[in-house]
């Protein structure tokens, strides 16, 4: 660490330069390189561990001014799980591939494979994909890999879809179905899609721009962490069966245990290995997606293989039969609720805040129901606190208000900020 920086300055000179004591002439000579502040940042020594700790991480900057974006999005949740059914509209076979709840990114490849299996049964040479979110674009690329000529029709390309307003990690059973309405076979279908997707994402690791990466994910708490047990609340008598919308968390399918042989599990850290100012820390490692490079990767492959994109707005199912392709995969996400009059799609609102990218702090952390995830395009912030009680999977259910509310994000930042601060009275 000691010695000369990339600009040939010693640590002493650098400090002097930053204070301005080397004089204007020296500073002028530096301007063609970079700002003085930048140099200081590049050569900053690693942080000191907190008292009594052996490890340190570069703390995330979570002050309100770091917030550069707030995005809001509706998860297309279906009690029965994603719609992968088929139907004829005139002479056109429509294969549905929508309604992935909070798991659209995670299940994209596996779900595309299932939908394409149905499309291929009529031996098409070319197909249309309606929708260019993560589900549509992935379906289009996989169809090309299966030898088909593909045209995507959509109102928007992926960058402007709801998919780009997700948080974007591998969460394949996040609000993907309700246990009862999905039925006993759903678990197997889900597992097939999740495992297929996991393998497909693994092939993207290490590609330029890091479209898919792993990072450490810390769960922090002030009291010893407990495994969450979900018990139905007997006081709640309504349910999806009676009202067409879930009423409690226990109605949701939680399927992650089926793939725990491949997905890293979390373990409690000994105190000296906890780098944060919180009494307890557990650590796991999670897979996540960098939207910009991931979208670019898929679009590059799609166009590279001769794919066509047509901007088009569909006003109802009849429009599908007007396409020249007679096999169409419908990947319209939440919009299918109106477009296909699928009232079984339940909106589940969610929002993310985005802080300035902080690549030196490459980790995720959760504390008091606030989550931070440091990604290439910024630090994703989610505040899943609700008043008066913690709603868990019920948070946002039935809410189709898609306007962001930055105050919630700021409140979340305030809640999590103390974990990065040295303890009061510390060294």
């Amino acid at each position: 660490m000691a010695g000369r920086s990339q600009f040939g300055l010693s640590a002493l000179e650098r400090r002097a330069l930053l204070k301005g004591s080397l004089g204007a002439a020296a500073f002028a000579g530096m301007q063609s390189y970079a700002s003085a502040a930048k140099i200081a940042e590049v050569t900053a020594p690693p942080p000191m561990p907190l008292p009594g700790r052996k490890v340190a991480l570069v703390p995330l900057r979570v002050t309100p001014d770091q917030l550069i974006d707030v995005k809001c999005c509706i998860r297309p949740f279906r009690a029965a799980g994603p719609n992968l059914g088929t139907q004829m509209i005139g002479d056109t076979l429509v294969v549905h591939n929508y309604g992935h709840g909070g798991s659209g990114w995670s299940l994209s490849w596996g779900s595309a494979d299932v939908a394409l299996g149905k499309a291929l049964s009529v031996l098409p040479k070319e197909i249309a994909v309606v929708g260019c979110g993560i589900v549509g674009l992935t379906t289009a690329v996989l169809a090309q890999q299966y030898g088909l000529k593909v045209t995507i029709y959509a109102r928007d390309m992926i960058q402007r879809t709801r998919s780009f307003r997700a948080s974007g990690s591998f969460t394949p059973s996040s609000r993907v179905a309700l246990t009862e309405p999905a039925g006993p076979e759903f678990g197997d279908l889900w597992e097939r899609m999740a495992r297929f997707s996991w393998k497909a994402f693994r092939t993207c690791i290490g590609l330029p721009g890091n479209p898919v990466e792993f990072q450490d994910n810390y769960g922090l708490s002030d009291t010893p962490p407990q495994r969450r047990v979900r018990e139905p609340n007997p006081a709640i008598t309504d349910s999806y069966a009676t009202r067409g919308i879930p009423f409690q968390e226990t109605e949701f399918a939680h399927l992650d245990d089926r793939i725990k042989d491949i997905v890293p599990q979390s373990s409690l850290l000994p105190p000296e290995e906890n780098p944060f100012n919180a009494a307890y820390a557990s650590r796991t490692s999670h897979m996540y997606f960098n939207f910009a490079s991931y979208g670019h990767m898929l679009l590059t492959e799609f166009f590279g293989r001769g794919g066509q994109f047509v901007m088009r707005d569909f006003h109802g199912p009849a429009d599908y039969a007007k396409l020249k392709e007679k096999v169409v995969i419908n990947c319209t996400g939440y919009a299918a609720r109106d477009l296909w009059q699928d009232k079984t799609i339940i909106p589940v609102r969610g929002q993310t805040g985005w802080l300035v990218p902080q690549p030196d702090s490459h980790y995720a952390v959760r504390y008091k129901n606030v989550m931070l995830m440091s990604k290439a395009d910024g630090v994703c912030v989610m505040n899943n606190n609700s008043i008066p009680e913690d709603l868990g999977d019920m948070f946002g259910v039935g809410n189709s208000m898609e306007l962001p509310n930055p105050a919630d994000i700021q409140a979340g930042l305030k809640l999590i900020a103390p974990v990065f601060a040295p303890p009061v009275g510390g060294a």
């Binding site: 109102r155 707005d313 006003h315 007007k322 109106d338």
Partner: protein, 150 residues
């Protein structure tokens, strides 16, 4: 091919409506009243502007209600747009607009996109509305060409 198919479909719709019915009308012919558009502007401000913007400019994520929007909904009956608003908007309370309100908001959007008002009000759904085709205003060419550099 898609174009050809939709032209056939259009022709078929016209035939289905019946030989006796008048030729399709377009939004260039004054299909709403000034009063409707004015009422629609008020409604827009309270029910739509929070997402689509005061000037219907939209955001990166929420569609603007001009230009591309008109392109998206044109060459189709105004009834498509009317039905969509009636069913799906505002997104946080879909189905909450009354038929008269829906017609007023459509009138406002047409007017805001340069289409003329007329004597008859825009119908609140029904077969007449299904016959009115959404046609964008005629392109207005700038009076002066870009000045040449000498």
């Amino acid at each position: 091919m898609a174009r050809a198919l939709s032209v056939i479909a259009l022709a078929a719709t016209a035939i289905a409506i019946g030989a006796a019915s008048p030729a399709p009308i377009t939004t260039r012919q004054g299909v709403f009243t000034e009063d409707q558009a004015a009422a629609g502007a008020q409604l827009y401000a309270t029910r739509c502007a929070m997402c689509h913007g005061k000037m219907r400019e939209g955001t990166y994520e929420t569609p603007s209600l001009q230009d591309r929007f008109i392109a998206n909904w044109s060459k189709a009956p105004v009834a498509d747009l009317y039905d969509y608003l009636a069913r799906a908007m505002p997104q946080f309370a879909p189905g909450s607009l009354k038929p008269a309100e829906t017609a007023q908001i459509v009138a406002y959007l047409l007017k805001a996109n340069g289409l003329p008002a007329g004597a008859k009000p825009l119908p609140e759904g029904g077969p007449t509305l299904a016959r009115i085709m959404l046609e964008p205003k005629a392109p207005s060419l700038s009076a002066k060409a870009v000045p040449r550099t000498k």
